[in-house]
Symmetry: C2
Subunit: 310 residues, 2 copies
């Protein structure tokens, strides 16, 4: 018996948003079956090559950890100075030989320099930068809004493959803390982080961190290498002993890796009709497994398909 | 540098819900500091013994897996027939020696009988039951509503320690798929599950499963024993080989375990003033780390405190 999340195969249908929450709850064993609908997998299968974009090697990072490679896509449009600084840290080999030092259940995995007494020196890269918690909405030309309401923000949707939010009253836009998003650890000061300590969300989206931290990107492959790490026994999930640290063999900009060794992924364009269909497949699932279609999709439940480049 | 989520200490203040979303986004480096406020840890520290209830051994399950014990609290008010059946399965040693057979990233860990050809026979327990996807609201007298809006349901809140939702138009209430919630795997039929295959949510809340599955309870201790399991390589996170299965040494009702061997936990009463303060601590964090209070809490981000019995 499976917790299924595939449904029937069918052609892509237009998004039908309204009304499903108005369905009466089915009584147990109700025989009525929902009409079949395409699944996310169907949408991917039926998509066109132009519905996808390849990762840009200059804005992609490879973190090599035991078990394999974590692939991170940077979002320079939302954190331009941090993206530059993190790439500089990578190119100056700052992270190579450092470690993952924290794994807190339903929260984050974090890496950086554990040695506070004798910290690794930086070269050209900056130790701290002013926070880039939000950007002017006008900088974010790739936003595609979801019709679904959200408790944390006036508007939510996707900006060129990243979950994001915006507030027309303040004119600001920001990336949101969904599963797999990468942020910049900081101390109390808004300008106390710079990218030398990064974390990834491994649990339910801690959206209350939105607009409080610089979010720099998203893990597009390799999440299980992080999400399955043993949780740290010290407060806040830090590892207690050096032997528990998970070593980072290398942390590189993809453009600096020989082409033959690059991971070739493509991300579904979040401003495409295919993506709209993928989100609708999640919002209102069809029969025969589903008994009640949700009629809503939470921003962080909207899948952002990634696949090997075709 | 830490992704902090502790703030200052202070006395418990009344919930102030409105308005925070109207705060202008702080510019990077803004010097204005939010007033300090109690954290969830502060609320727990300041709570009274009557703000807590001990787990009922008759409605608590212990699953022993490599590394330790997973403690599950059943919610018989929401799934009365399944709770009875799962306890019968436990008492007839159905799960002992079976295994965790699935671990899918950002989704679920699931256990049961992997041997479809030669399934383990049942004794008195039933193989299948009518689904208990929702219950009449009148059966749920312990509901405490959150003021926060939700995209998936008309009303959300907590029922005696479990996240739940309700729809006054249909008169139905149901448990919600938050992190750590336990559900009953089933095939296409609403009456095709019975509790012999159970799953736990290990990622962002898949709320679109609400009202489609019988939810029977919540993991109150031991989540890392499940959430860090290697992800299964087969489709939907199933393990491919028997050697990958994670054995269940035993699965017992706590009441059947000698008292000296029981885990003694207590859960904060979700209809207490202390709990209201705990949720508010999550909804609107204070200074000095927080720069913008969220002004909202997602149902599945509202912490449900559990501690060793005092």
């Amino acid at each position: 018996m499976e917790v299924q999340h595939r449904i029937n195969k069918a052609s892509i249908v237009a998004a039908v948003l309204a009304g499903s929450l108005a369905l009466p709850a089915h009584s147990a064993g109700a025989a009525r079956e929902l009409p079949s609908k395409p699944t996310v997998a169907d949408v991917i299968k039926d998509s066109k090559p132009t519905d996808w974009r390849a990762l840009d090697p200059e804005n992609t990072l490879y973190m090599e950890v035991p078990g394999g490679r974590v692939v991170i896509e940077l979002a320079p449009g939302f954190a331009p100075r941090h993206a530059v600084n993190i790439k500089m840290l990578a190119r100056e080999n700052y992270f190579d030989g450092l470690a993952i030092i924290r794994s807190q259940d339903n929260w984050v995995v974090q890496w950086g320099d554990a040695d506070e007494k004798n910290p690794r020196p930086m070269k050209t890269a900056k130790a701290t930068l002013p926070g880039e918690f939000t950007v002017p909405m006008k900088n974010d030309s790739r936003f595609t809004r979801l019709p679904d309401r959200d408790g944390y923000a006036r508007q939510v949707g996707h900006s060129n493959g990243f979950p994001s939010a915006r507030d027309p009253r303040t004119g600001q836009a920001w990336l949101t803390h969904c599963y797999g998003m990468v942020g910049v650890g900081r101390d109390n000061g808004a300008d106390s982080g710079g990218g030398s300590s990064l974390y990834v969300v491994i649990g339910h989206a801690p959206r209350h961190l939105d607009r409080n931290i610089t979010v720099v990107g998203r893990v597009v492959a390799g999440m299980p290498l992080l999400s399955t790490l043993p949780r740290g026994p010290a407060p806040m999930g830090f590892y207690e002993k050096k032997e528990q640290h998970v070593p980072i063999a290398s942390f590189k900009v993809a453009a600096d890796v020989p082409e033959a060794e690059r991971s070739k992924f493509e991300v579904m364009r979040t401003d495409s009709a295919a993506y709209k269909a993928a989100v609708e497949a999640q919002r209102n699932r069809g029969g025969p497994w589903t008994k009640v279609a949700a009629g809503h999709v939470d921003l962080c439940n909207a899948p952002i398909p990634v696949r090997e480049q075709q």
